[in-house]
Amino acid sequence: MITIRNVHKSFGAQKVLDGLDLDIPDGKITAIIGPSGEGKSVLLKHLIGLLQPDSGAVEVDGESIVDVRRSELNRIRDKFGMLFQNVALFDSMTVFENVAFPLQEKTTLSKGDIRGRVISALEDVGLNNIENKFPDELSGGMKKRVGLARAMVLNPKIILFDEPTTGLDPIIKRAIHQLIKDTHAKFGFTAVIVSHEIPEIFDVAQNVAMLFQGKILQHGTPDKIINSAEPAIRQFISGTLDGPIQMMR
């Protein structure tokens, strides 16, 4: 369980998170939706300690990750895998080296075992025979899959996805969403997905939280969000120009 309580975060004069509260349940897929620039990625980075809140608490399984020693933070980070918006594959390494890297650095597995785990992780995301390619030789969808394989290779308890389908065509989007669902069903990790993909994300997530004006406006099952009476949520889902979100701009 990840617990976020009364988190505030500003960058200079710009207030991004303003007393945000959220509980992320174990073993489920939680989607964080909301307009662009509202701080969804900022929130995601707070969950893994890449950003520290100005005030408030973030706890993973009851352990705080705010203002803790680096060694302590790293111990908690071992529970996580993360797929970045731009994938963040190491561009000077091959696909194999990228996926093998966490295994080489965090385990004492033999070279043969690492090879087996990497091939298996790549097969899990539907990739074969691309181990020797470099990231810049791959398509956007393939990069996302390699990123997912790297995030999953240590079998983390929690995986964070920062806009996993941005910039992809509708078919690959669907394939990535299906992949997340399938791997979640297979491994049972806790997933947090930052996404703009309406309505597809309602089919992927079991919980949805709408971030607006630095707070979670509403949090619940996809049905609850779809049928919400909140004007901002209704406007965001329907994509209309008139409403409170438009008034913000």
Binding site: L50, R70, L73, N74, G81, M82, A88, L89, K106
Partner: protein, 253 residues
């Protein structure tokens, strides 16, 4: 006005603190977790081996121009036999370490800043952090170790090539006695001269790795941020090298 001045002062103090912390943490990591031997070897190849050509070239021409200038100055006093001493001392004590450091700054320092800066803006450094791995171990300490080893060696090569460049011009082209060139040099150059050159180039290695890594690590946003960081890295490193050279010279003389 006062508020702006206050903001600027706070910004400068914060940056200075962060820069100092970066150096201390890097040195701490060298002792604590120096990174893999393979990473250090790769950086030795990049900073050291790949700088050889430019060092040999600049060393040769620096020695040649010293030979030329030294000859015309020394003949005025009838002391052209001292040419070897003049060339060797200028190179070993001063020009070797400084020019080697400036060449490596231009060739490798800028590339280090750009590499780490690109890794910063493409979230590759964040990716390392999310894997609970310390980015310093992979990106910073191998470069520090490689620069600290490479600079004194490159400087030694620069000195030797430069001495032979001076010999080529002084002895072969201008007719200085070859025995006098090397004999006077051997008589005048003492261990302390070599030692001071070594200390300088070693410390310049630390400065190059420090500023190049720091500027890349804290590069701003986008391509413009990396470009700005790279320019600042080269300018700041060059300036610090020259200032530090003055202080070291005044201590080591």
């Amino acid at each position: 006005m006062v508020q702006t001045l206050g903001h600027i002062t706070i910004g400068v103090v914060r940056d200075l603190g962060r820069t100092g912390w970066f150096l201390l943490y890097s040195l701490y990591m060298i002792v604590r977790r120096p990174g893999s031997f393979v990473h250090v070897l790769k950086q030795l190849r990049f900073i050291g081996t790949k700088s050889l050509f430019v060092i040999v070239l600049t060393g040769a021409f620096t020695g040649m121009v010293l030979g030329l200038q030294g000859y015309y100055t020394l003949t005025k006093f009838g002391s052209e036999g001292m040419l070897g001493t003049a060339v060797a001392l200028s190179l070993i004590r001063e020009l070797g370490p400084v020019l080697t450091a400036l060449m490596v700054t231009g060739r490798a320092g800028s590339a280090i800043t750009a590499e780490i800066g690109i890794m910063r803006i493409t979230e590759q450094i964040d990716a390392l952090e999310t894997m609970a791995l310390d980015p310093f171990k992979y990106l910073v300490t191998p470069k520090f170790i490689a620069a600290m080893i490479s600079l004194p060696l490159l400087c030694a090569i620069f000195d030797v090539i430069g001495i032979y460049g001076g010999w080529l011009v002084g002895v072969k082209l201008l007719g200085v006695n070859p025995g006098a060139y090397f004999y006077e040099m051997e008589k005048s150059v003492v261990w302390r001269d070599v030692y001071s050159g070594f200390v300088k180039s070693f410390s310049f290695g630390v400065i190059i790795a420090w500023i190049a890594c720091y500027k890349g690590y804290y590069a701003g946003h986008g391509a413009e941020g990396v470009s700005k960081a790279t320019t600042e890295s080269v300018v700041l490193t060059s300036v610090i090298i020259l200032i530090w050279d003055y202080f070291l010279t005044s201590v080591l003389l």
